[in-house]
Amino acid sequence: MAITRSKPKMGIKERYASMTRDLGWETSYQPMDKVFPYDKFEGIKIHDWDAWVDPFRLTMDAYWKYQSEKERKLYAVIDSFAQNNGQMGITDARYLNAIKLFITGVSPLEYAAHRGFAFAGRHFRGVGMRVASQMQSIDELRHAQTQLHAMSHYNKFFGGMHSSHLMYDRVWYLSVPKSYFDDAMTAGPFEFLTAISFSFEYVLTNLLFVPFMSGAAHNGDMATVTFGFSAQSDESRHMTLGIEIIKFMLEQDEANLPIVQRWIDKWFWRGYRLLALVSMMMDYMLPKRVMSWREAWEIYFEEAGTALFEDLSRYGLKMPKYYEVANWEKDHLSHQVWSTFYNYAGATAFHTWMPNDNEMEWLRDKYPDSFEKHYQPRFEHFIKEQKKGNRFFNNTLPMLCQTCQIPFIFTEPGDPTTTCFRETHYKGNRYNFCSDGCKDIFEQEPEKYIQAWLPVYQIYQGNCGGKEIEDVLRWYNFNLGEDNGEYLDSPDYDLWTQWKESQSRAV
């Protein structure tokens, strides 16, 4: 059966061009360089802004049509989730700790992206790029807001989610995502797009959204699944902006290649370090697991990333520097990160715990070359002591990497027993790094990274609410004994156990 339709007078491309690119003009009452003061200093040479082609040619009427339909569906789910006490349908309340990390560590990034893309959406002199950036800007606002709305219901019952935006400005581990995005927002517009649209959205974000949201579905969290996938459908547009901006810069001038390569090296490494948090979400925080961090890394970086960089090699672009280190770390990352948060559970707005026997078996199975040898003994010790009533809380404060701001928890590539230290000197001061990747980034722009607001050192300088750890945690707006600590000792656990007991009584 053939569907007949009237032929549009104008093809999608032509129509789109007349509704976007044609809107702009060369200013003459004010010089273009004053109207667009920020799109040249980075050294990217653009000869023909009109050569930019947006593959998704959404005009605003179409944008509103699709987005409003998505929003209607999303809020219908959120409403019914709340009305039906959907929080009781998740696999286990432990799962929500991943959500706490999400709302405090990811949602504020969505918001930062909103403002960052507004900058790009105003300050490129090419109209097409501006329109694409603007749509992404309000998409990102959407993500921040739908996440606040979806999680609002969980916040009513569980700890750790009540103060996400204040925590983002203050809490020690949240300086990792914050410094990442602050770094991008303080860069010029081309670097911003390389950082966020390409390195993060195209190369790395699948690792966050796809397995994680699939995990949410697997664990009965329909609220998160719905906002997650609804957001992800915008993400495909964003990813495409990412690859197009790289191609555009590389096609415009050969001299752009070294700049773009340097940015890709930098932002791959910064993004990868940021995703360390995601590795533990996947391997430790989902009661029902979808795939391991290692498997996700193989599918979404080693396979998809390699195909992508092979494609871009026609412009002379190479795989990001230190990708081999990241590949090596796939066997270790999540375990090292989980150990860290187990150490510092007293100072986090989410709970940690030790894996049970089945989970240990899963970890051995997924990580045959690393888990049993290097991490299981550590965890068994934790479990043994915890059973004796001696749950480990590391009461010191850790040394932090000057660039990624993660504690020095990473080990030498190829040697999981020796902590990795790198250093450099700048204007008579010493700076320390967790990796060659982070050291390189600092050395490219030392003036920038010496400004880093490193939480531990800020505490010692007296800028975080007081001398005692408790003072600091109050300054973080933690409800002590509720937001932080061991999961098995938490009000979350008690509440969940009560619910489950009363449900089984009811049955």
């Binding site: 059966m1 053939a2 569907i3 339709r5 549009p8 093809g11 999608i12 491309k13 593959p55 998704f56 040619r57 959404l58 179409a62 699709y66 339909e69 998505k70 699948n206 959204f209 796809v210 949201m213 699939s214 995990g215 579905a217 697997h218 699944v225 996938f229 992800q232 459908s233 993400e235 495909s236 547009r237 990813m239 495409t240 690859i243 979808v290 396979e303 998809a304 390699t306 195909a307 992508l308 092979e310 494609d311 026609r314």
Partner: protein
């Protein structure tokens, strides 16, 4: 070596005819079902034809309607009135 392109769609009613159309027009594709997702991999290039989707649906379908169920993709995008294509150059 022919590299894989890939498209991930929601596992829902908006996506079902699209997945069927992909299967029909790209017989060599590999379809993976994940919780609430469908990920389709294909060596080289993958094409979604409007006409095929419309035949399956029995009504008009706009290529841009794919935005209602698209979750992720890998490959360079070409979107026209009549098709949506992913490929590596």
């Amino acid at each position: 070596m022919s590299r894989n392109v890939s498209i991930t769609l929601l596992n829902n009613e908006d996506a079902r005819p699209v997945v069927q159309a992909i299967e029909k027009d790209n017989p060599a594709c590999i379809i993976n079902h994940l919780p609430s997702l469908v990920k389709v991999d294909m060596a080289g290039a993958l094409r979604i034809n409007r006409q095929t989707v419309e035949e399956i649906l029995g009504r008009e379908w706009n290529v841009q309607d794919i935005h209602l169920c698209l979750v992720s993709l890998s490959g360079e995008v070409e979107e026209e009135d009549d098709f949506f294509e992913l490929s590596w150059k």
